[in-house]
Subunit: 406 residues, 2 copies
């Protein structure tokens, strides 16, 4: 059995790395803080008897040998990077429950048949470098390494350069690494489990998601001396486009969501009519055909708003992650573990993207959700109960052992 | 008579300091580039026989003695700072035509009765540190020096610290400096003179302007897993508020203008519903009572949008610069100079704010406008014809000599 107190201590311990005044974490991918938590993680895994390897996307693999080391490992993976105003749980409990599992096996002197591997995936959040799940995506062959290396943050720093600068370009070629299975424990990040008083979400899949970038071009001009009728105000047009995104999502209620999370105006000066804006759109729905309908509406309506607002708009889809259905055997193992432990549970589809969504295309994969307070995530006040996290780690351990015994 | 080629050369010469690829200038106030153009200006004025003094707001006064140095000087003032995407003319021709006038008087060995002073006012643009016309405002007693020093840019750097860091806190107390008159040559920054084929705008006043800051508070949350009905999206609310600003201005057509020039979203991450935004509002109208009506609408409608969007909005008026009427004698001198030189001219009210608007409350003041292409300003493509700039400088010289002779 796992040690709930030790797991909780690890969570609080790493939460100091990038910890914020409001109790959250700001630990953006490939920053010095990310490097610090990576070093902590490697040392902890080595202390638990693992050999650590790193691939050329900075993904970290900590392997505990099994009886048959010719078998591919059963993996437990998630991420230690956070949003700019992130919480202490998103991704982190997935990695640290893997570490807790390693420690539990070591303490018990338990020998698995397969090797067991705990993985820290690089840049799951996609906040600094779009898209999300970048390195599990390269691992699964969705993106090339070169494409990933060329991704730029909003300051124009390339992913490959940032990875080199923190010293985490490993020797192994990303993807050259078969897995027998992949499990991921995560907070739900939504309101369903809490509302229904369930401890465990048996995750059957991940909804589809598409990301867009929009550049709106008007004309910079003086805010005081340019009459209203002569303006080509990129920000007024953008305001109307933000309303369009909101409306499209509402038209596909109750499942679809649509968000403008990032906006920049240029020159961003109080007395200058903005001549250019850049903003992003995030659309999600469990049904890819709904996403296609939403995309078509977006294309048409942004063009209409641009024309009526006297500006030009350039819309690009930069990421399309289709809906994912998890492996039936893995899902069954998680459900059985929840039943056996007597935890209230339900099947659930993930609203958030996860590394497991990509890994699912190259290895049998599923996830385990536990509730978070108010369903709030990507927020410094993100909160989960120690008992729920421990329940999730218990289900994780039992599901892994069940797969190992198959 | 002034030397049009020498004036134009000075414009092109200083345009290299902070010059941009698109042919504009990025020379934000109190940056190292601002310091560089200040040093250029001081050297040029000293070479033209002036004594230079600096006050504790960094305003630079270059004085050419007159016959009666007990009289207060007749001043020619404007600014050398620019917007982030500024042009080569806004403010700059006001200072450099003053320099050209000094050189012309020196070459001719002409002795004025009053001393003549050319002034470079600090932070006219108000882009880095709000509000605009900050240092002419302290000069005129509208703001205290302490209040001005405490103004912060968007990185939290204080005006007083930035002024010290570029080495331009002078010995003279700002304001302890009587002026017999103040003239300012400027591009119109609007479309009227060009549309009517007038070379000279005889500026009779400046419209009223008010600046506001708005902070909208919602709740950061996950863009994928937070259902639409649970969101408190600060950016969606802000989009509606931007539309409100636009509508209020249109309701007071044709004179009123309203602009949201600066916006920031937090945490500004593609997959996070923005929990907070900050944006600015710039309202202008020649009639202060219209501005009061606009302000009341803004207050009411932002509250309505906030309530219906599930967010809180905090609106603060940070600047109120009432409409200004320039001195009748100065205006008459400018109009007479335009007539005498045979330049097509018309009376005009300034849509932009200028240092002259504040100086007008402590000294007889007016301005001279010349056309700019398409009325476009606060844009790197801002453009003015050498002949028009020379015409403006000619009118400036004649108006100054007329006031000196009174
Ligand atoms: N789990 C999680 O928050 N992932 C970030 C990617 C996304 O869903 O936006
Ligand atoms: N002339 C000019 O552009 N001044 C800046 C202040 C303003 O009008 O916004």
């Amino acid at each position: 059995a796992i040690d709930p107190a030790r797991l909780w201590d690890s969570i609080l311990d790493t939460a100091r790395i990038g910890g914020t005044a409001k109790g959250g974490i700001k630990r953006l991918t490939l920053t010095e803080l990310d490097a610090e938590v990576r070093r902590w993680f490697i040392a902890a895994c080595e202390a638990a008897g693992c050999a650590v390897t790193i691939d050329d996307m900075g993904n970290i693999f900590a392997r505990r040998p099994g009886k048959d080391n010719g078998l591919p490992p059963i993996a437990i993976g998630s991420h230690l990077d956070t949003q700019p105003t992130g919480g202490k749980f998103d991704g982190i409990i997935g990695v640290l429950s893997g570490l807790e599992l390693l420690r539990t096996l070591q303490d018990a002197g338990y020998e698995t048949t397969h090797p067991i591997e705990v993985i820290n995936w690089t840049n799951e959040e996609g906040s600094r470098f779009a898209p999300a799940m970048l390195s599990s995506g390269v691992f699964a062959g969705k993106f090339t390494k070169d494409w990933a290396y060329a991704r730029e943050d909003r300051d124009g720093i390339r992913f490959g350069d940032a990875l080199r600068d923190i010293g985490f370009i490993g020797d192994e070629a990303c993807g050259a690494h078969p897995l027998a299975a992949h499990f991921e424990l995560h907070i739900e990040q939504g309101p369903i489990l809490e509302a229904e008083a369930k401890t465990i979400g048996v995750v059957t899949g991940v909804q589809g998601m598409r990301w867009y970038e929009v550049t709106v071009t008007g004309v910079d001009s003086h805010a005081g001396s340019t009459p209203m009728y002569l303006r080509q105000d990129a920000l007024v047009a953008t305001a109307r486009m933000i309303e369009v995104v909101q409306q499209i999502a509402l038209e596909h209620a109750p499942n679809a969501v649509g968000t403008v999370g990032l906006i920049e105006a240029r020159p961003n000066s109080r007395n200058v009519i903005p001549g250019e804006t850049f903003f992003t759109v995030d659309f999600r729905d469990p049904d890819d055909s709904v996403l296609s309908a939403m995309e078509q509406k977006l294309t048409e309506r942004l063009a209409t708003v641009a024309a009526s607002s006297g500006v030009a708009a350039d819309l690009t889809c930069i990421w399309n992650s289709p809906a994912v259905h998890f492996d039936a055997d893995c899902v069954t193992a998680v459900r059985a573990a929840a039943v056996q432990a007597g935890f209230p549970h339900r099947d659930i589809i993930s609203g958030a993207g996860h590394d497991s969504a990509y890994v699912a295309s190259v290895a049998p994969t599923t996830m385990i959700f536990v509730p978070c307070a108010g369903g709030i995530s990507h927020n410094e006040i993100e909160s989960a109960e120690p008992g729920d996290v421990a329940a999730g780690a218990t289900v994780l351990l039992q599901a892994v052992l069940a797969m190992d015994a198959k």
